[in-house]
């Protein structure tokens, strides 16, 4: 055991890191995103991705989906700390890989490609609900929706075929079946 006379204790054992998706319902008011993001940075938690938009125009409720990593203890703290914030209504927490939950991310790819190559690209994207949003003789913009890892791989494959710009959202989540979060 190390001999320490320091004013702070030495770090203890670190638990296993898990990836979680945390969904937060908040009042859509000024500064609310800064409060959430500040809580994460201030307490040293990670944000891997973040998606946010108002989902209830009348009550001004926004739904924030955050992908984060941490030990079970840290994940529990994230949940409890979020619930303490005044504009937060409720918090739902899912472990990555849970069966009854759906995740999706959206990506836009801008490609430099002639029409022959464009067909090839569309074929590669086929599994991921491709939509062509813009098309010229030399270029096109294609939209796909998929899981994070799938988009990662796709972006890598498209690199060779003239990918010049990528724009991605964070993950959004929803439960399967008739059940809703509460």
């Amino acid at each position: 055991m190390p001999k320490s006379k320091s004013a702070y204790s030495i770090p203890g054992k670190i638990g296993k890191i898990e990836r979680h998706i945390i969904v937060v319902w908040v009042d859509n008011e000024a500064g609310v995103l800064a409060r959430i993001a500040g809580l994460f940075s201030g307490r040293g938690y990670n944000i891997e991705s973040l998606a946010v938009a108002e989902v209830d125009k009348k009550k001004h409720i926004s739904r924030i989906t955050i992908v984060t990593e941490g030990t079970p203890q840290v994940i529990e703290q994230i949940n409890l700390q979020l619930k303490k914030l005044v504009p937060v209504h409720k918090v739902a927490d899912f472990k990555r890989g849970e069966k009854d939950i759906l995740f999706r991310e959206l990506a836009l790819f801008k490609m430099l490609a002639n029409s022959k190559r464009q067909e090839k690209i569309k074929k590669i994207c086929k599994k991921f609900n491709p939509v062509v949003l813009d098309k010229t003789k030399k270029s096109f913009v294609i939209q796909v929706t998929a899981l994070r890892a799938e988009i990662d791989k796709l972006a890598l494959d498209l690199k060779r075929l003239g990918l010049i710009s990528t724009s991605r959202t964070g993950s959004v989540a929803m439960t399967k079946g008739a059940k809703i979060f509460n």
Binding site: K3, S4, S6, A7, S9, G12, G31, Q77
Partner: protein, 588 residues
Amino acid sequence: MPKLISGAEIVFKALEDQKVEYIFGYPGGAVLPIYDELKNHKSIKHILARHEQGAGHAAEGYARSSGKPGVLLVTSGPGATNAVTALTDAYMDSVPLVCISGQVPTHLIGTDAFQECDTTGITRPCTKHNWLVKDVNDLARVLHLAFEVATTGRPGPVLVDIPKDIQFKKGKYKFTKNSLKKKLNGKAKHKISNKEVDKFIELITKSSKPIFYTGGGVINSGPDASKYLRELVALTGFPITSTLQGLGAYPGDDQQFLGMLGMHGTYEANNAMHDCDLMINIGARFDDRITGKVDEFSPKSKKIHVDIDPSSIGKNIKVDLAIVSDVSELLKNLILRFKEKNKNFLSSNKQKTSKWWEQIDKWRDKKSLNFINSEKIIKPQHAVQRLYELTKDQDTFVTTEVGQHQMWAAQHYKFNKPNRWMTSGGLGTMGYGLPAAIGVQIANPGKLVVDIAGEASVLMTMQEMSTAVQYKLPIKIFILNNEYMGMVRQWQELLHEKNYSESYTAALPDFVKLAESYGCIGIRAKTPDELDKKIKEMIEVDKPVIFDCVVDKSENCFPMIPSGKPHNQMILGPEEEEEISDEGKILV
């Protein structure tokens, strides 16, 4: 159609409806409309501090000694940034504060205007919540909500930022009780189930080596909580120890009380924490000054944790029974059910805990708070002991600064009532005690208020003596003057080969002359012989006093748990100091 009134008037209407009697503040350009309105509201008295940090700590002292929220009024820019230390201090120690800050007019926000800063941005991490009010018709609602947030659940500071044009604009005023409680569901109140209470009682009856470990939550829960705590401790016959913030909830001179625990806690309290088989944490948060090395913290015990803040539970230490509740409510329920189920528990259980008490008495025999006294020079511990003996017969309120003197005060001054001990524990703010004493004296006129101080700390907010003199507040600043930043010097002695880098203060002021220049009384004690006489003189003066108690420069604060060590490996005195490893040094 309700009458339209100015934003500044709305502020005072809201304060009146919240029954605010005192506001602590400092004027400036962006709050002038509010200061202009002050004269029309006679029930509210403004205390002019000399620095916004001082106003903030005074509001904290007021809140902690009265149980009511403290109110703070500052201007934009530097006014707000100066208040940040006090807000953070209140946030760490769960003190209800409502800070109202002026802001540049709405059309100038974001233009780097004179005395503009992003006040809500800066104070977001050090308040429970904050608001920038951009519509005068929101002002009344926001102000009442602010008071509710500050005082509901785990108390804490809030801030309302009001642009100058909003203070002039006319709007509607309505006193609305907010629906926060409903919205806060889990955040404010939790219904205690019989199942939880029964499990609690079961753990109590099964234990043979129990200990109560209580904290600031008992004080924050109100005077009833201390009453119930005393009743429960008497009913069970169990030993009890307290954190720094919990002192006073249980009588400090009681036989069942083991003294404070933690880094500078007593030998018996820390060993009992380490060896117990049941730890009952009521309103404490397993802070790192308490737990030491987390992996070896009280390894053999079942742990109960009662806390009003769900995020305090399981944050540092895993527990076996967690109850989210207000302390007072839980204890009331628990005592009722306990009495029903376990008649004569005290006598029937005596046998079971007798060995435990024998062990505790053996630890007590070490007399870990002892020190080698001197006839020539005043030992700081001796000074605190004498101060205690000479003030214990009256209802005395004690504040402190931060450092060695703070720990000696906690060790040697015995508190018998809650809300009598105000110290900066979480943030550890040097300069807290003097302004806090001002707030305490305002909330408790006619009572003796003493700031046990160090000469380095007290110089950080010394300007507030002027406030004390202006409002005729007879606070006593009892300085244990060793010319060093004592705790820094102690660590340098133990950790850095006695390289006392920058911890000695040369060119200290003559505190007696300083007192005189402020228009208060200065007293100096240099030898143990004259100490009692001088302390009595200090108590008898009905004026603010700066007491320069010249103490031993090299005294260290013992006992202590070196960090990274479990509770049962304390250093009792200088003779036990060990060699320090390089690994230990990195960790400071």
